[in-house]
């Protein structure tokens, strides 16, 4: 079977198993969820913790870097 036939075959199978989802709307008004999400304080992630640890360590080892960091942050 060539590539075009393969694609047609796979396309037909997918469309028969997973029919197109037309005219489906959210089950409720999601605006209140968006407002709640945008008012939620940002979470402190593991990346943030690692970055803070690196900066702290750098300042302990090289105190003179304080002014460099203060300028850039």
């Amino acid at each position: 079977m060539n590539d075009i036939n393969d694609e047609d075959w796979v396309r037909r199978l997918l469309q028969s198993a997973l029919p197109p989802l037309n005219s489906v709307t959210p089950s409720r008004d999601l605006w209140p969820d968006v407002v709640r999400r945008s008012q939620r304080p940002a979470r402190w992630t593991s990346v943030d913790s690692s970055l803070a640890a690196v900066v702290l360590l750098a300042l302990l080892l090289f105190p003179k870097w304080f002014w460099f960091l203060a300028y850039h942050l």
């Binding site: 079977m1 590539d3 036939n5 393969d6 694609e7 075959w9 796979v10 396309r11 199978l13 997918l14 469309q15 028969s16 198993a17 997973l18 197109p20 989802l21 489906v24 709307t25 959210p26 089950s27 999601l30 605006w31 969820d33 968006v34 407002v35 999400r37 945008s38």
Partner: protein, 177 residues
């Protein structure tokens, strides 16, 4: 996507005006939801991704240039949020097979459809998203490329890879051309 919003609304949104943001939400909610649903194919998940999308839009408002297309911008954000969802998606019980080493039974059409759906869900997220948009929903390659922020040629090659992977998986599961 709906018509581009009024310039005043966009400028208000960039300044952080919640009323302007709500107008944008009301204007784009339905189309963005439809786009996300085409990718994630579950209503509840699409609702979560829609909320995440508008949160990212709000968070990134200062980076938006009101002279550019808001529709294209939000679609790209929605596509990335949907892709993130696919990356963290875990199969629910109905998607799991009893034994991955054995072909699924083909006793009925429902079984066949479940097998096909399972093969589709097993695609890596970057292939699943192009398979959903290009093969299932028949969206133009240029539109998919714009939404994913990749060249059209990359979309074509991913469709090719997705087709090949699906074909191999379907044959393995007992469905042959």
């Amino acid at each position: 996507m709906p018509a581009e919003p009024d310039g005043d609304v966009l400028r208000g949104f960039v300044r952080g005006d919640e009323g302007a943001f709500e107008r944008l939400f009301r204007q784009f909610e339905r189309d963005v939801f439809g786009w996300i649903l085409r990718i994630v194919r579950e209503r509840a998940a699409a609702e979560d991704v829609l909320v995440e999308t508008f949160w990212r839009v709000y968070r990134g408002r200062a980076r938006f240039d009101p002279n550019r297309s808001f529709g294209a911008w939000i679609r790209r954000i929605a596509t990335n949020a949907a892709l993130d969802h696919l990356r963290t998606w875990k199969p629910t019980r109905e998607w799991q097979t009893a034994d991955d080493g054995l072909p699924a039974a083909r006793g009925s059409d429902r079984d066949t459809n479940d097998t096909i759906a399972r093969a589709f869900r097993r695609l890596p997220p970057d292939l699943q998203i192009v398979a959903a948009l290009a093969l299932l929903e028949e969206q133009p390659y240029a539109e998919i490329a714009d939404a994913l922020g990749i060249p059209e040629g990359t979309v074509k090659s991913r469709v090719f890879r997705a087709t090949r992977a699906l074909r191999e998986e379907l044959v393995r599961l007992g469905i042959r051309p």
